[in-house]
C-alpha cells in the first residue's frame, strides 16, 4: 500500500474553506489552502454586515486570521488555482498553478508602490464601482497584508513602483508557477458567485444604472466601499427617497437558478435595515414570493416588518422600466394580496440575485457528480465539498458544514492508516 499522506488540501479560502482548514489544523493536521484571489476570506470580505446580528464579517475574519497566524499547520497560497488532481484517498497528487502577484514576500505593505503608480484599474472588490491604482492592496482588511500589481492595467514601460519600492519587493518579470502537492484528502470549497443579473433582461441590470444587485448593495453600505458607506444612486450620486428589493432575482426559476438561494430573503431584510438607518423616511418595498426567514430568523423578519415605511409586496416583481431622463425606475408587479397590478416608482432597485455555485462553471478535476444547478451532489472517497459548493446556505450554515467537512477530511487520512 502507498504511504498515506496525512495532510489536507482545502480549495477555496472563503469562509467555508478557511473554516475547514483552521478546524482541521486545530485538531493537529497539516493543511494547505489554495485560494484564487490575492487575499483570503472570499465573498464575506465584501459583505458589510451579517444577518441577523448586523455584525461585521471582518470581526470573525480577524479571529480566523489570528488562528492562522498562530498555527504553523496552516499554509496557504493566494492567486493559486488547482489544475489537476490524480491519485486516490490518502494519496492525491495535486498540481497548483500560482499566478504572478508581481510583488514578492519582501513587501512590507508600506504603500509606496500605490502612491507612485500612475495607472488605474476598475476595483473588482467593489464590483467596478470605483478604481484602484494598478498597484493596490485588495482591500483594507486584506490578509495577507501584501500589495498586488494588476499587470494588465499597468502603463507600458512604467517602472515607477519598482523604483519607489525600497525593499525590492516588485518583480515585473514574475511568471506563473506550477507547484505540486501531495495530500491525503481534499475539501472543495470554491463557493459561489452572484448569478449574472444581466440574464434577467426584464430587470434591466446593466442597462439601468440604478438597478443594482444585493452584492453591490453590500459594497454601497460598507464603510470601506466606493461611497464610504453611504447608499447613493449610481447614476447621479444622489441620496435616495425610495428603494425596492426584488426577491428571487434568478432563484427559484427554471430559466435561471432552479433552487432557492436560501439567503436572499434575510439578506434583503438586512439591507432594508441599512437603508432605514441612513434614511429614516425612505420608502422601502420588498417584492417577494415567499419570505424564507427560517428558524429564529423569524424574529428579524418581524423586527423589519415593524419598521415604518416598509412595505412587503407579495408578488414577484415582473419588470422594471426606466425613465432615462431622471434615472427613476418603475417596478411593475402584481400585489397579490390586494389583487391589483401596481406600478411603483423608485430611486434605486436592488435585485436579490441568488447564488450560483462556482462548480457550475469550474468543475472539480475529479469524478464528482453535480445537481441540476451545479452544486456538488456527491464526492469521491477523499474529496468532499463544503459550504456553498454543496448547497446554497448562509454563513452560519456554511461554517457548520465546513466544520463537518474538516472532520470528513480527517477521517479520510486517518482511516487510511
Amino acid at each position: 500500500m502507498n504511504m498515506v499522506n496525512k495532510s489536507i488540501l482545502v480549495v477555496g479560502g472563503g469562509i467555508s474553506g478557511l473554516t475547514a482548514a483552521i478546524e482541521a489544523a486545530e485538531v493537529g493536521f497539516e493543511v494547505f489552502i489554495v485560494e484564487k484571489n490575492p487575499y483570503l476570506g472570499g465573498k464575506v470580505t465584501q459583505i458589510n454586515q451579517y444577518f441577523p446580528k448586523l455584525c461585521p464579517p471582518n470581526c470573525g475574519l480577524e479571529i480566523n486570521f489570528r488562528r492562522i497566524r498562530s498555527n504553523p499547520a496552516v499554509k496557504f497560497f493566494t492567486m493559486a488555482e488547482v489544475e489537476s488532481v490524480s491519485g486516490q484517498e490518502g494519496n492525491f497528487d495535486v498540481t497548483v498553478k500560482i499566478n504572478p502577484r508581481y510583488v514578492n514576500e519582501n513587501c512590507t505593505a508600506c504603500g509606496k508602490c500605490a502612491e507612485v503608480c500612475p495607472a488605474q484599474r476598475a476595483n473588482d472588490f467593489n464590483y467596478g464601482l470605483d478604481k484602484t491604482k494598478a498597484a493596490y492592496l485588495p482591500h483594507q482588511f486584506a490578509f495577507p497584508v501584501k500589495y498586488v500589481i494588476d499587470a494588465g492595467a499597468c502603463q507600458e514601460g512604467c517602472s515607477k513602483c519598482v523604483e519607489a519600492c525600497q525593499y525590492n519587493a516588485i518583480e515585473p518579470d514574475m511568471q506563473p508557477k506550477t507547484m505540486r502537492l501531495n495530500v491525503g484528502s481534499i475539501v472543495w470549497a470554491t463557493g459561489w458567485k452572484p448569478y449574472d443579473a444581466e440574464k434577467l433582461s426584464y430587470y434591466g441590470f446593466g442597462r439601468y444604472p440604478n438597478v443594482i444587485t444585493n452584492v453591490i448593495m453590500e459594497r454601497l453600505a460598507a464603510k470601506n466601499g466606493p461611497t464610504g458607506g453611504k447608499i447613493l444612486r449610481p447614476s447621479d450620486g444622489k441620496e435616495i427617497k425610495s428603494i425596492a428589493f426584488v426577491q428571487c432575482a434568478g432563484s427559484r426559476d427554471e430559466n435561471h437558478l432552479h433552487a432557492c438561494s436560501s439567503v436572499c430573503c434575510m439578506a434583503s431584510l438586512k439591507q432594508a435595515t441599512y437603508v432605514r438607518e441612513q434614511y429614516p423616511d425612505a420608502q422601502i418595498y420588498i417584492y417577494y414570493i415567499d419570505i424564507r426567514a427560517r428558524g429564529k430568523h423569524e424574529d428579524f423578519f418581524i423586527k423589519v416588518q415593524n419598521e415604518t415605511n416598509i412595505t412587503l409586496v407579495k408578488g414577484k416583481a415582473g419588470e422594471i422600466l426606466e425613465d432615462p431622463a431622471t434615472g427613476q425606475l418603475v417596478i411593475v408587479a402584481e400585489d397579490q394580496l390586494k389583487q391589483e397590478l401596481t406600478e411603483q416608482k423608485f430611486d434605486l432597485v436592488v435585485l436579490a440575485t441568488g447564488m450560483q455555485p462556482a462548480t457550475a462553471e469550474t468543475k472539480v478535476p475529479a469524478e464528482m457528480t453535480y445537481d441540476e444547478d451545479g452544486y456538488v451532489a456527491a464526492g469521491i472517497p477523499g474529496i468532499c465539498a463544503a459550504g456553498c459548493t454543496k448547497k446554497p446556505q448562509d454563513v452560519a450554515a456554511a461554517v457548520a458544514d465546513a466544520t463537518a467537512a474538516a472532520l470528513r477530511a480527517i477521517q479520510s487520512v486517518r482511516g487510511q492508516s
Binding site: 408578488g315 397579490q336 391589483e340
Partner: protein
C-alpha cells in the same frame, strides 16, 4: 386585469374541475404554478384580459367553471411568448392557452370573435394547406354576421385598400398544396393519437 369577480360566500376547493384541466395536453404543467404573479405582469394584453393565467388557475381550483370559460383570458393571448419565457416554474403558459382555446371550443364556448377567427383560420389551412388572407377575412365575417361586418367595414377600409394598392393581398387564392390529402391524413391520425393520450 382585475381582481376576482366571485361570490362573497366561501368558495369551495374542488379538485374535480382541476383534474379536467390537468388532463389537457399541457394541463399538467399548471400544477407547478407557485402563484408568483409574473405572468400577469408579462402579458402583452394584460389590460384586456379578464384574469391573468395565475388567477385562472385559482378559479380552476375553486371549481368555477363558468367564470373560467366565460373569461376572455385564453382568447386575448397573442402568443408573444413572454409569459412562457419568463415563468419561473417553466410552465408553457402559451401552450396551456392553446389547450384552453381548444377546450373552450369543444365545450361550446365559441361566442367570442376570436373563436370565430381561429376556426376560420383553421378552415383555410384545412382547405388549402396554406393560409389565404382574403379567404380568412371572408370566412370570419361570414360567420360573425352582417352586424359585425357593418361595424368593421368602415374601420378596416383603409387597411384593406392600402394593402391591395401596394400589391400585398393577392386577388386569387393560392393553389392548394398537392399533398393536401396527406396533411389531412396526418392531422387526423395525430388527433386520434392525442385523443388516446398517446402524445405523452
Amino acid at each position: 386585469m382585475t381582481g376576482f369577480n366571485v361570490s362573497s360566500g366561501p368558495l369551495k376547493y374542488d379538485t374535480e374541475f382541476a383534474k379536467e384541466i390537468y388532463a389537457l395536453e399541457n394541463g399538467r404543467h399548471i400544477k407547478k404554478c407557485m402563484q408568483c404573479g409574473m405572468c400577469e405582469v408579462s402579458c402583452a394584453t394584460r389590460k384586456e384580459m379578464d384574469y391573468s393565467p395565475r388567477k385562472m388557475f385559482l378559479l380552476m381550483r375553486t371549481g368555477q367553471r363558468e367564470e373560467f370559460f366565460n373569461s376572455n383570458t385564453m382568447w386575448m393571448c397573442s402568443t408573444c411568448l413572454m409569459c412562457k419565457a419568463r415563468c419561473p416554474r417553466g410552465i408553457p403558459i402559451v401552450d396551456v392557452m392553446h389547450d384552453l382555446k381548444c377546450y373552450a371550443i369543444s365545450e361550446g364556448y365559441t361566442e367570442r370573435p376570436q373563436a370565430t377567427f381561429y376556426q376560420a383560420f383553421w378552415t383555410e389551412i384545412w382547405n388549402r394547406g396554406k393560409m389565404f388572407e382574403g379567404g380568412l377575412v371572408a370566412r370570419y365575417y361570414l360567420k360573425r354576421g352582417w352586424k359585425e361586418i357593418r361595424k368593421d367595414a368602415f374601420e378596416m377600409k383603409d387597411f384593406g385598400m392600402d394593402m391591395m394598392k401596394h400589391g400585398r393581398i393577392p386577388l386569387k387564392p393560392p393553389k392548394s398544396i398537392k399533398g393536401l390529402q396527406d396533411v389531412h391524413k396526418i392531422v387526423e391520425k395525430a388527433k386520434a393519437q392525442l385523443q388516446k393520450g398517446e402524445d405523452r
